[in-house]
């Protein structure tokens, strides 16, 4: 799909260019519509002819200019506050016009005029800046590139000829190409559960060695600078745009160490097909953005969004950000890139430490697996003489990776001297076999690439039957994935849902909320001899109770559980057991001491079978004891059979058993 966007044309009041020019010549331009702070209207006829030309061509409303200024059409539309445009950039230093935030025309005029100022007149925004560095040309090199291309600016008339800091920055980055990196879902911290995206600017080959040395490239991150540790303030500010966020430049090796090693997240790397001039424009614009900040909105203007809005600047013919809807997920931005025809020309997969370890032990014999395990406890474990050097290397290499997997964080922090000693000894033994290890060759799991996953939003229409009645039902989920959804592009045994609601209309005309999930996570980790991570789940929302203490009542709910997952025959079939604790509240619920609060604790479990990639069945159940409450216990069981009959369309047959009866539902889902 090649989406081509058009500059919005607005029927706005605009003086004919000649009239503007005349007014400016008369020396009243500044008083007419420009604030005092704007660059003085130039007395130079050449400069003003450029301004007039820009007006005549309406450059200020070209897609390229609007994107360079990160302008978006305001809610109130054209005609309100400078044509209805507002820039998403929030730092005042990003604008040369005092009206720049809301007026792309004023900002364009101010930029043209500022380019021809003497460095003496440049407004410094940083004490370390030289007069040259503070000049508009050096502060806004991408704008200059755009204006020179469109207006044919005579660069000889510009009073400076070098930008020391920008040039230093550019040479340091030394770009040859740009890659968007997706760091996969990380459910073990709810806050980065949806993944993360950032850019990598690949260095041109200035090193003597011809091979890949990506670790020395720069990662470009957009992230917020947080000033509060208070949980409530933190969450509130994150959701309402009260933290400033900036672009940051970090050597890629930090990213690899953090994501691949410490957090064991696979990275997907999408190299963009950019021409040299697009690449130069991107780096120049990054420099412009590096001088300012954006208010950070967790759900919309987040890291993924602004990484894409940076890329968008150099591909004016492609509309990447407008189709995005809040909340903007990292996967949505990856999908937008991949969908833009011809923009991504190479996909590379960088396996995490855990993936590397799994690959190392994949074909080992049971004896070798035993050795790997033993070595992690006792690094002196003797390797039998029957093993040749190649197998000894394989065993020692796997053991060293396992130590890093288990104690990686402690090793970096230097808080676990026993683990450090084991790793030291394992590596000594490995180095003693003076041969290089074979290079790991891990084929990318294409069916787990984020762009092949189902759409991040889901809507469903269906019907429910219970107590001999029938009700149409509507199901809406803002994000993202549950254990019965199609598994391509998603982790097999992880679920994360944000804002899920199911409502039913029963024959008595009542609109009944059946289920409401604010935030639900299920993180199942299969137990094996090397991976002992516990499985856990968290559920915040409201759900329907139907038992002796409360008949068909909708109760606020918060609960969670911890347990273990087993998959003895591979990921397709898994079952798990957890110990859960739940709290419910509903006004008509007969709960503790006659209050509306119920506290429940007990065992829960589930079975999931992936019959085919397009057919999954999920069975879950729980028995909750209700201490000091009546009844003494309640149960709940759910069964789902979901069939994906077309890409992004599924039919779901669902059944539920509660103390007071059964309910069946058939829902047709579409993902988008």
């Amino acid at each position: 799909m090649h989406r081509v966007s058009r500059a919005p044309r607005l029927g706005r009041l605009q003086l004919p260019a000649s009239l503007v020019l005349a007014a400016i010549m008369a020396g009243c331009g500044a008083q007419l519509h420009m604030p005092v702070q704007d660059p003085r209207v130039s007395g130079d006829a050449y400069v003003e002819s450029l301004v007039a030309l820009a007006h005549a061509r309406d450059l200020a409303h070209s897609v390229a200019w609007l994107r360079l200024g990160h302008y978006r059409l305001g809610l109130l539309g054209p005609g309100f506050l400078g044509d209805g445009y507002t820039s998403q950039a929030d730092g005042p230093e990003f604008f040369l016009s005092a009206r720049g935030k809301v007026d792309p025309v004023a900002e364009l005029d101010a930029t043209i005029r500022a380019l021809f100022l003497s460095p003496r007149d440049s407004r410094r925004t940083h004490p370390k800046e030289t007069a040259e560095d503070a000049h508009a040309l050096c502060r806004f090199p991408a704008r200059f590139m755009y204006l020179q291309r469109t207006l044919g600016i005579d660069a000889r008339r510009i009073a400076i000829n070098s930008c020391p800091q920008f040039e230093h920055f550019y040479q340091d980055i030394n770009p040859s190409s740009v890659t968007l990196v997706f760091s996969s879902y990380y459910l073990n911290s709810p806050a980065s559960a949806f993944g993360h995206t950032f850019l990598r600017i690949n260095k041109a080959g200035t090193f003597a060695i011809g091979k890949k040395r990506e670790l020395l490239d720069y990662g470009i991150d957009f992230s917020a600078d947080v000033d509060s540790y208070n949980a409530v303030i933190y969450a509130w500010k994150g959701l309402t745009g009260m933290f400033p966020a900036t672009f940051k430049q970090i050597p890629y090796y930090y990213k690899v160490r953090q994501y691949n090693d410490t957090e064991s997240r696979d990275l997907w790397e999408y190299q963009l097909a950019l021409q040299p001039e697009q690449l130069a424009l991107l780096v120049a614009h990054l420099w412009e953005l590096g001088h300012t900040y954006f208010d950070y909105y967790y759900l919309s203007e987040n890291c993924s969004y602004h990484i894409l809005s940076l890329v968008e600047v150099v591909v004016p013919e492609i509309d990447l950000t407008s189709p995005l809807t809040s909340p903007v997920l990292p996967t949505d931005t990856v999908k937008a890139l991949v969908a833009a025809h011809g923009l991504v020309h190479d996909v590379h997969y960088r396996p995490s430490l855990r993936t590397q370890f799994r690959s190392r032990v994949k074909d080992m014999s049971d004896d070798e697996l035993d050795l790997v395990e033993d070595l992690v406890y006792d690094a002196e474990t003797a390797l039998p003489g029957t093993l040749n050097d190649e197998r000894k290397i394989a065993v020692l290499d796997a053991a060293a990776d396992l130590v890093d997997m288990r104690y990686g964080e402690a090793l970096v922090m230097k808080t676990d001297s026993a683990a450090a000693k084991i790793k030291q000894r394992l590596l000594e033994r490995r180095a003693a076999i003076q041969q290089p290890s074979a290079v790991l060759d891990i084929p990318p799991p294409r069916d787990k690439a984020p762009e092949v996953g189902h759409g991040s939003h889901r809507v469903g229409l269906g019907g429910a039957a219970a107590h001999g009645m029938f009700a149409p039902s509507l199901d809406i989920r803002i994000n993202l994935h549950d254990l019965a959804d199609p598994t391509s592009g998603y982790p097999e045994l992880n679920a994360i849902e944000f804002l899920h609601a199911r409502v039913q209309i029963w024959p008595d005309g009542k609109l009944v909320a059946d289920d409401l999930g604010l935030f639900r996570v299920t993180s199942l980790t299969v137990q094996n001899r090397f991976d002992r991570k516990l499985s856990w789940k968290l559920d915040i929302g409201a759900t329907t109770l139907d038992d002796h203490a409360c008949t068909r009542c909708f109760a606020a709910h918060m609960g969670g559980g911890v347990g273990m997952t087993f998959a003895p025959f591979g990921d397709a079939f898994a079952f798990w057991l957890t110990t859960d604790a739940n709290a419910y509240y509903a006004p008509k619920l007969a709960g503790i001491g006659g209050s509306g609060t119920r506290l429940a604790v007990g065992p829960a479990g589930g079975v999931r079978l992936r019959i085919a990639p397009t057919l999954v069945t999920l069975w879950t159940g729980e028995y909750m004891f209700l201490p000091w409450q009546a009844p003494k216990g309640v149960y709940r069981a759910d069964a789902i059979l979901r069939w994906v009959y077309l890409n992004n369309f599924a039919l779901s047959l669902e059944a539920r058993a509660l103390q007071n009866g059964y309910e069946g539902q058939l829902v047709s889902f579409s993902y988008f």
Partner: protein
Amino acid sequence: MRKYITTTLAMGLLGAFVLGNASIAMADGYGTAGCGLGSLVFGNKPGIIQVLAATTNGTFGSQTFGISTGTSNCKDTVPSVVSAKAFIQANREAVAKDIARGQGETITNLTALAGCTSDKAVGSELQKDFKQIFPTEKVSDIQVSDSVVSMLQAHPELACHTLS
């Protein structure tokens, strides 16, 4: 219906609180990066970067990773002795493994940074020198980086131009 709305709102606030808490608990260690609330870098505590800064005895401590004028001191990827040492310090755990294995991504990148001609030769040489570079697990990151650089310097056949 109003009851539901009130309930929903109350749960929403509760949810925000729990979410916030989870994020903060996480920020005490690693992993502040990630999209959404997680990518809010905590003040001067950007996860692993800070951890590494602490462990490398201030080599990175004074650095920030901003792009803007005057704060962009992040020049650790241009071939030089300082960059090579910084690289080894920041990647110490991975470097140790790759040296023991005689090959690996950090060896290749280090070879590039040090201006040597063959990562194979560098890997093989450092593997031989493992015990000298890592006599015990207690040797500091800075000591490791110093030893690796002197090892590379001591072998003219590796032709590590940047380090000479």
